[in-house]
Symmetry: C2
Subunit: 144 residues, 2 copies
DNA sequence: CTCATTGTAATTCATGGTATTACAATGAGT
DNA sequence: ACTCATTGTAATACCATGAATTACAATGAG
């Protein structure tokens, strides 16, 4: 069990936009070929990133641009842009109200797990797009 | 997108076993009625918890018991018992090797995200079954 | 031996993520 | 104004997986 593609795809999209800014027009087809995923998924994701105020997309002409500096874009924003705001874990909806464990489990576990999720988001908030871009550039250098 | 029932169910099972120790025989049917889930799922989960060395199950007779004190059982153990050891996020398997972003994204994002997962597991390791049992008992008191 | 229970396999069902097709709307370039 | 590549979005199909369910042999105390 793991989270879906969404956040990693969104991150890769933003990395490409940042990396190829001014060099290539980053259309959904261009981005799709980097990620190796369907262009429609790219457009949908770009729409979510646009709603989150991270990019602007040129309808008609094509291509996307960052609205904020890579230093100002965190993985938390990216995560929130493409994932619903829901609990980390699915806790059974209808536990037995007759059972002292069942009738309290949602509240008890829910509280504990929401703290864990908050910490995860804090971790994400400390990772910026600039960090990732740096990582990519370093990895490219080491490759040679 | 969220994690499945598994870990919360496993936690509830262990809580019931701890809570009803010596009072009721905690068969899969008994546990299933507290969680309100199919008994087969309970048995499968109990099997995983047994493999992890957290409980012992009386085949034939029925009923399960904790092998360790609730203070010694952490949410991390429970999580690892029922979830595969895999990355937190699914990162695209076949990114474009021609693209400088595509050919490095797995390594770069993977490293960052595995750190986040480690932190999550550390959080889990600080929550014990005894903590949850306490939470349940407190919630029960406040209910009156 | 009996019988409730476990362990496990097999099957079905439902959900949700991803792929794909299709097409109207957009808007710079001519 | 027209063209045309591209976006935005709906609709549909497909598939993987989690959960429910059925079935039954194996277990082991009484």
């Amino acid at each position: 069990m793991q989270f879906s593609f969404r956040m990693p795809v969104a991150a890769q999209i933003l990395l490409c936009i940042a990396k190829f800014d001014g060099v290539f027009k980053t259309t959904s087809n261009f981005l799709a070929s980097s990620v190796n995923i369907n262009p429609v998924i790219i457009r949908k994701t770009l729409g979510q990133l646009k709603s989150a105020g991270l990019v602007e997309v040129a309808a008609g002409v094509g291509g996307a641009k960052l609205v904020k500096d890579p230093e100002k874009i965190t993985l938390q924003e990216i995560f929130n842009a493409v994932e619903d705001d829901e609990d980390l874990f699915h806790i059974q909806d209808n536990p037995n109200p007759q059972c002292p464990v069942g009738r309290n489990i949602q509240q008890v576990l829910g509280r504990r797990l929401s703290t864990v999720k908050e910490h995860m988001l804090e971790d994400f908030s400390r990772i910026t797009l600039a960090d990732l871009l740096n990582d990519i550039n370093n990895a490219e250098q080491n490759r040679q």
